[in-house]
């Protein structure tokens, strides 16, 4: 997917430039773009170093664990079909609290652990369970308190008030997460009333543990603590 998007931008650019007589501008733009890429990345260093330092303190002080405990009633409400005291719940809580603090690096392994635990409860290992879909919904719209990456970029380009978008981002992310939860509930209820999908009985070894495959094409989320959301 990412490969196609990238190719699309480049090919269409050159064709459009030829049609518009802008071919020199495009060459210049390519080099300028490369330069901006490096400048923006370097601008991220300061805030990433600072924020990850703060987060290590929070982690060592047990704040992440504390937050996870606070989230436990919410998690139990969102995952009614996971048995109480199942290890999956613990991982889900850690995943959500790491996301909340904008720790994409810590959130992803926790989320994968949670998925592996949920997989143990799955009667059909190739098909996602409702609980898995809920966990995914929470992660695709993940709530982040501080969009660190964006604050850094805004600082880089001389914003008068780089943090003014914290409130708007928080509001938008809460609405997006609310929508994700609502849609997930709706599908859950619908799939419950409909006849259960026929379980595929193909003879295929599906229970082997799959290696954690990070699609190299777009692994930015994994390297950005600006959030699972490159926030």
């Amino acid at each position: 997917m990412v490969n196609w998007i990238w190719l699309f931008f480049i090919v269409v650019s050159v064709i459009a430039a030829a049609a518009n007589g802008q071919i020199d501008a495009v060459t210049q733009a390519a080099f300028d773009g490369a330069k901006s890429g490096v400048t923006v990345s370097f601008g991220l260093i300061s805030i990433m170093v600072f924020w990850l330092g703060m987060m290590r303190i929070a982690d060592d002080a047990g704040l992440l664990k504390k937050l996870a405990r606070l989230l436990s009633p919410v998690v139990r409400l969102l995952f009614p079909d996971v048995p109480k005291n199942h290890p999956a719940l613990g991982y889900i809580m850690s995943n959500l609290s790491a996301n909340l603090f904008g720790l994409g690096n810590a959130a992803t392994p926790m989320g994968i652990k949670a998925m592996q635990e949920l997989q143990k409860l799955n009667p059909d290992p190739q098909t996602a369970t409702p609980a898995m879909c809920t966990l995914l919904a929470l992660n695709t719209s993940s709530i982040t308190l501080i969009p660190t990456t964006l604050i850094a970029i805004r600082m880089n380009y001389g914003s008068a008030n780089p943090t003014e978008i914290v409130g708007t981002t928080l509001a938008a992310t809460i609405i997006a997460t609310g929508a994700a939860i609502a849609a997930d509930r709706w599908y859950r209820r619908r799939s419950k009333s409909a006849p259960p999908p026929s379980i595929n009985k193909r003879k295929r070894k599906t229970d082997k543990t799959h290696a954690v495959t990070h699609p190299a094409a777009d692994s930015l989320s994994a390297v950005s603590p600006g959030g699972g959301p490159i926030a």
Binding site: V26, F50, A58, T168, S221
Partner: protein, 177 residues
């Protein structure tokens, strides 16, 4: 409401910055040393982004300079103008769920072109920060345990991205408008 937003924006970060070390010190954590230890990871994280960002910013910068961006946006501009929404952010809405690096590069490009404190810069920042890359999360999380049929998960993710996109625009127009 408006007051609350600006207050939240300016108080949240200092509150967190003072609360974390204070709480940690109370729990007998050596705060400064722990900070330095954790901060080391930040450098590598920022450096790892370089190849992704360079690749995407080259493509997007070319796309803008060639005039292709204007040609594409020309078609939707009347509709967006009518809604009083800057059409420049539409590609961001499309890129956001598909590629994290691409949408980050596009956001940086918008902020560079129109300024971080312009309406476009603020909306772009809010959109980029408010959701995660749906396609990436789906691939990593389901790929890790070998799920092939994701059922309605993609639809839910894309729906919440759309809601987040619209919400980000409306909130920014309301707060900063």
């Amino acid at each position: 409401m408006l007051e609350l937003f600006t207050r939240a924006s300016s108080w949240l970060i200092p509150a967190i910055i003072v609360f974390i070390p204070l709480y940690a010190a109370f729990r007998k954590v050596p705060v400064y040393e722990t900070f330095v230890e954790g901060a080391k990871d930040g450098f590598g994280t920022a450096i790892n982004i370089i190849p992704h960002l360079v690749g995407m910013m080259v493509a997007i910068s070319m796309f803008r300079a060639s005039g292709a961006m204007d040609m594409m946006l020309g078609a939707v501009r009347p509709l967006f103008d009518w809604l009083h929404v800057p059409s420049e952010i539409l590609p961001l809405g499309i890129l956001r769920p598909l590629t994290g690096a691409g949408s980050l590069a596009f956001t940086a490009d918008l902020i560079q072109t129109y300024g971080p404190d312009s309406m476009i810069g603020r909306i772009a920042s809010t959109i980029q920060g408010s959701t995660d890359t749906t396609l990436y999360v789906l691939t990593v999380y389901f790929g890790a345990v070998g799920i092939r049929k994701s059922r309605y998960a993609l639809k839910v993710g894309l729906f919440s991205d759309l809601v987040g996109f619209i919400a980000a625009i409306m909130i920014c127009l309301y707060i900063f408008g």
